[in-house]
């Protein structure tokens, strides 16, 4: 008899929906169906039963082909690489659990690694802005229960976080928001007319690259100061009108994404968006939130935070001190300057996200990639070590985009003999200890 596992946490995006129902075969081996997930979330579960999944570590041969090796061999090779390298980039972590990260950090501290996560190529600029000016925010349930003005700025949840709008931000009825969508006014600010814009009551088209100017104009208008006729392609009358409307909110929220973090101005865009939010708190209650994309990237920032005091790009290569400096300890910059001696990638795919030059530099270094599946990065690695899918084949803690942690659920067994991240990292850690005791360092 197939069985249903309820309250399952989706392992794909930072929305971390926790209401999925997964049907599992009698023998706990196969997922038969997924309810409540969006298409991209369901896809993650479907991956589990894909034929041709790699179940043992693979090592690249001189001719470029891959040969299956044992976990022991892969662990030994990896530990040797880590111990030999004076500076190893240990990048990724977004699709694994906080428990696994902790073990990874222990290794990094011993071997002098630099621990960095996907924020380095997505919301790193948001984190820089928050380090500069703070951030007034809230949990997603607050939006559902209270928000009557919602602004999506440079983000497109309709595609990137498909259930965000129905669970938290546009449609749900909450305690003080009994009318649901009808009681909320939705704004979308973007340079393109996106599918999210279609759901908004008002779409404001900002000229590409003029987000900072437009946010600045919002702040100016909120203070009742004069504006030029148009800013970033938006007429001043419109700006005054929107700002006045936002001031009458009972509870307002700005969600922002890559359209703000990765366009001209970057962290300064976020900085001024936060400052606008702060200003609005002189009139009413307002919050702002980054639409963190990659599943548990938020958790990586949290664990690094409590262990070292920085949210990403944490350089432990001095071994007696943790350092964090954007441009200096960030992955892409390290690779571009060829400053690391080895690469250790886990639970993400830099090959698909990093600039080409950085990956060319990476491909010249000894590289180990730990990932359940074959991806762009595994194909430029010396070793690919497959692992169980976190949130599907093993549980573990993940942090939602509003920093709420949820312990994810195991729904099926991993393929016979496949290790979890925690098991694998624990064994690498032990092997590193053995090698270092022998004076490997």
């Amino acid at each position: 008899m197939p069985k249903e596992v309820t309250d399952v946490i989706c392992p794909f995006c930072g929305t971390l929906c926790d209401d999925l129902i997964v049907t599992v075969s009698d023998d706990n081996k196969t997922i038969l169906g997924v309810k409540n997930a969006c298409a991209i979330g369901a896809e993650k579960f479907n991956h589990q039963r894909q034929p041709g999944r790699v179940k043992r570590p693979r090592m690249r041969q001189a001719d470029g082909s891959y040969k299956e090796i044992t976990y022991d061999e892969a662990i030994d090779w990896t530990a040797n690489m880590l111990v030999k390298s004076r500076k190893t980039l240990m990048y990724g972590w977004a699709s694994t659990s906080c428990q696994a990260m902790s073990i990874g950090h222990e290794i990094a501290e011993k071997v002098g690694g630099i621990v960095d996560n996907c924020a380095t190529v997505c919301h790193g600029s948001s984190l820089i802005a928050i380090e500069d000016v703070g951030v007034p925010s809230c949990t997603l349930g607050e939006i559902k229960n209270r928000a009557d003005r919602v602004v999506f700025w440079g983000c497109n949840p309709a595609h990137a976080h498909p259930r965000h709008m129905s669970r938290y931000s546009i449609f749900p009825r909450g305690f003080f928001t009994v009318k649901g969508h009808k009681g909320r006014k939705i704004y979308c600010v973007d340079c393109r007319y996106t599918d999210t814009a279609k759901c908004a009551d008002e779409f404001i088209q900002v000229q590409q690259g003029f987000d900072y100017e437009l946010l600045n104009a919002f702040r100016t208008a909120a203070r009742g100061e004069a504006l030029p006729d148009t800013v970033g392609g938006v007429p001043k009358e419109k700006i005054y009108e929107i700002v006045e409307d936002l001031k009458t909110a009972r509870f307002g929220i700005i969600f922002f994404g890559m359209g703000l973090t990765h366009t001209m101005g970057r962290n300064h865009n976020i900085d001024i968006a936060i400052n606008l939010t702060r200003d609005m708190n002189d009139h009413t209650k307002f919050a702002i939130m980054a639409m963190r994309g990659h599943w548990n990237v938020t958790g990586s920032g949290q664990v690094l935070g409590w262990q070292y005091g920085f949210p990403y790009a944490v350089d432990l290569s001095r071994r007696d001190q943790a350092r964090h400096q954007t441009g200096e300890t960030t992955s892409v910059d390290l690779l571009n300057r060829s400053e690391v001696e080895a690469c250790f990638y886990i639970a993400t795919d830099p090959g698909a996200h990093f600039p080409v030059d950085a990956m060319i530099s990476s491909s010249r270094k000894p590289t180990v990639t730990i990932d359940p599946h074959i991806n762009c990065t595994t194909e430029i690695s010396d070793i690919h070590i497959p692992v169980a899918l976190v949130g599907v084949e093993v549980g573990g803690c993940a942090y939602r985009m509003d920093n709420v942690p949820i312990e994810t659920r195991k729904v099926v067994d991993p393929p016979e003999g496949v290790l979890t991240d925690e098991e694998l990292l624990t064994r690498i850690n032990h092997r590193v200890d053995e090698l270092m005791a022998k004076g490997g360092q």
Binding site: T6, E131, Y168, F251, N281, A287, Q307, R319, I406
Partner: protein, 569 residues
């Protein structure tokens, strides 16, 4: 397990009334015992001071706001952030140390237990992940209730039994220790950008007052018979003239008796009282209200307090008092962090520099010391810095030096740029009292242990108690007169025993001990109403499912569960 005999030390133990006499302390299997065999390892404590491990009654050391403070303040790692000798990990941060540093530093100061003072239930998993990673010291956490919708709704109709049943449920879900209440009603009001500044300001929509919340939570706490009492951060924190609201709030406990099996006598613990003891109408005519407040506290046997001493450092303020942090940000314009938590609470963070050249900050420093010096019963007044709000806990040795030496604090007082103003606005200059080592043991060991309901095992050196022992390089017969010397002696223990193991030796961490997480499991009668309300609220208003709300067992692998039976209450 190995046996120890600590010989010839000057023992200070309020539990047994020992005031510096030379006495040997025997240790076996993690406990203090009467006698050990001849094979026991001898620790020479000649010319040293021996006390039980200290207990932190109120600090912000683990959880979402503490961690936000860490990562959004990279500049806090510019100070004192590196690995120290020993088996330790990298240590980082000054006002908000990393978890590793937190555990090591408490141990080096002679502490063996710390209470995380504010756990938002929705974020309990985060709090426990950090507690799990904090070495050596035992810890517990207090979930916050003062702005929780269930509580507001039950107490509006004075449903104490339902309140108690809900508290019991939350303690189990969050692995929580007791009942914390921060700015009752005011933080819910803050969700709309408002606040409750007196105990009679109605909470928007919920039609209840802070006074009703405070009183109801005290009653529910005693209904359950929890080891700790209701733990209150009052309304109107940090504002001139607030001492009246403070005394009004404390009055709510009048006539209520402690009901518990843990030897606890208070029904209300009022925290960081320094921030609540101000007279005047603005920062210009600001004056100390410590005397008025402490006169009241001294009379009321069912109250305990902690000080919240300002240490005159750059630090990071953080509290579930969201509106206060917004207000503070308006004063100093440093970076403001805020999180409102659905149905439960909020938190704010603002960095803060207590500049000694500023008369207000110097006066706050004086008020904090006055609170401790006015305390008639050191078993009911505990020293804290409300870490990191009034200063980092690592400054305890300096606070002790100010309290234990009039010379030392007068030197500080007279060297303020605005000394005249501070002297006229406060009473500190007129106070001659010097806290003794015995009183210090009451204020940092026996007192907080009793207040937390842990006096069976903690806070003393009697046979049968935990072998948590701090040995300081202090000869009471030649007690240092010089501030920096006092400070140095308290900053690095000669030895710290945790559960009978030496974890710190000569200030160096040598063992990670066997850290435990404490929480309270209160049994109540089945309550269909409350269970129905919980179901309903999760279905309709929470953003997580009820089944994903509890803290899993694996988050607290070494848990110490204190059982309480309230089924016959």
């Amino acid at each position: 397990m190995s046996e120890f005999i600590i010989k010839n030390g000057h023992v200070f133990d309020p539990v047994q009334g020992i005031k510096g006499d030379k006495k040997d302390i025997a240790v076996k299997d993690g406990k203090i015992i009467d006698k050990v065999g001849s094979g026991a390892k001898v620790i020479d404590a000649k010319d040293k001071t021996v006390m039980a491990g200290a207990l932190e009654v109120h600090a912000h050391v683990a959880g979402p706001k503490v961690n936000a403070g860490r990562w959004y303040r990279p500049e806090d790692k510019h100070f004192d952030s590196h690995k120290k000798p020993g088996i330790t990990r990298i240590e980082g941060g000054k006002s908000i140390p990393t978890v590793f540093k937190t555990g090591y530093e408490y141990a080096r100061l002679g502490f063996t237990f710390a209470m995380e003072a504010a756990m938002p239930p929705l974020y309990a998993r985060h709090v426990h992940e950090e507690i799990h990673d904090t070495p050596i010291i035992d810890e517990a956490a207090l979930p916050v209730f003062g702005n929780n919708w269930f509580i507001l709704e039950y107490l509006k109709n004075h449903e104490v039994e339902n309140t108690a049943a809900y508290i019991a449920w939350i303690l189990r879900q969050t692995k929580g220790y007791g009942v914390k209440c921060v700015n009752p009603g005011g933080t819910e009001a803050w969700a709309w950008g408002l606040n409750c500044l007196t105990i009679h300001d109605p909470v928007p929509y919920f039609e209840i007052t802070p006074a009703e919340i405070i009183k109801g939570l005290i009653e529910a706490n005693e209904y359950l018979g929890l080891p700790h009492s209701m733990h209150l951060h009052q309304n109107d924190l940090g504002n001139p003239g607030n001492y009246k609201t403070t005394i009004d709030s404390l009055r709510l406990a009048e006539g209520i008796k402690a009901t518990n099996n843990f030897g606890r006598e208070q029904v209300l613990h009022s925290t960081h009282l320094q921030f609540h003891s101000y007279k005047g109408t603005n920062w210009g005519d600001f004056e100390s209200g410590a005397k008025e407040v402490m006169d009241y506290v001294n009379k009321q046997k069912n109250l305990t307090i902690d000080t919240g001493n300002v240490t005159l450092d750059e630090t990071t303020t953080m509290t579930a008092d969201g509106p206060f942090e917004h207000h503070l940000h308006g004063l100093n314009h440093l970076k403001w962090f805020n999180v409102d938590v659905e149905l439960e609470t909020a938190a704010g963070i603002v960095p803060f520099i207590y500049d000694p050249n500023n008369a207000v900050f110097a006066s706050q420093w004086a008020v904090g010391l006055e609170i401790a010096l006015y305390a008639k019963d050191p078993m009911r007044c505990f020293i804290t810095t409300d870490h990191p709000n009034a200063g980092p806990f690592t400054r305890y040795p300096r606070v002790y030096s100010w309290l234990m030496s009039k010379k030392c604090r007068d030197e500080r007082l007279h060297s303020f740029k605005k000394a005249d103003k501070v002297i006229s606005a406060t009473n500190l200059a007129t106070l001659d009292r010097e806290i003794t080592l015995y009183e210090l043991a009451q204020m940092t060991r026996a007192g907080p242990a009793k207040c937390l309901g842990l006096s069976k095992d903690y806070g003393g050196l009697a046979a049968g108690m935990n072998a948590d022992i701090a040995i300081y390089n202090i000869n009471p017969d030649k007690f240092p007169s010089d501030g920096p010397e006092i400070e140095k002696a308290f900053a690095n223990v000669a030895y710290l025993f945790k559960d009978g193991k030496i974890c710190v030796e000569g200030g160096k961490v040598v063992d990670m001990g066997h850290k435990q997480t404490f929480w309270v499991d209160a049994k109540v009668n089945e309550n269909k109403q409350v269970m129905h309300d919980i179901r309903e609220k999760f279905l309709r208003y929470y953003s997580v499912n009820e089944n994903n709300y509890p803290v899993p067992e694996s988050y607290a692998p070494h848990q110490h569960i204190i059982g309480v039976d309230a089924t016959k209450a």
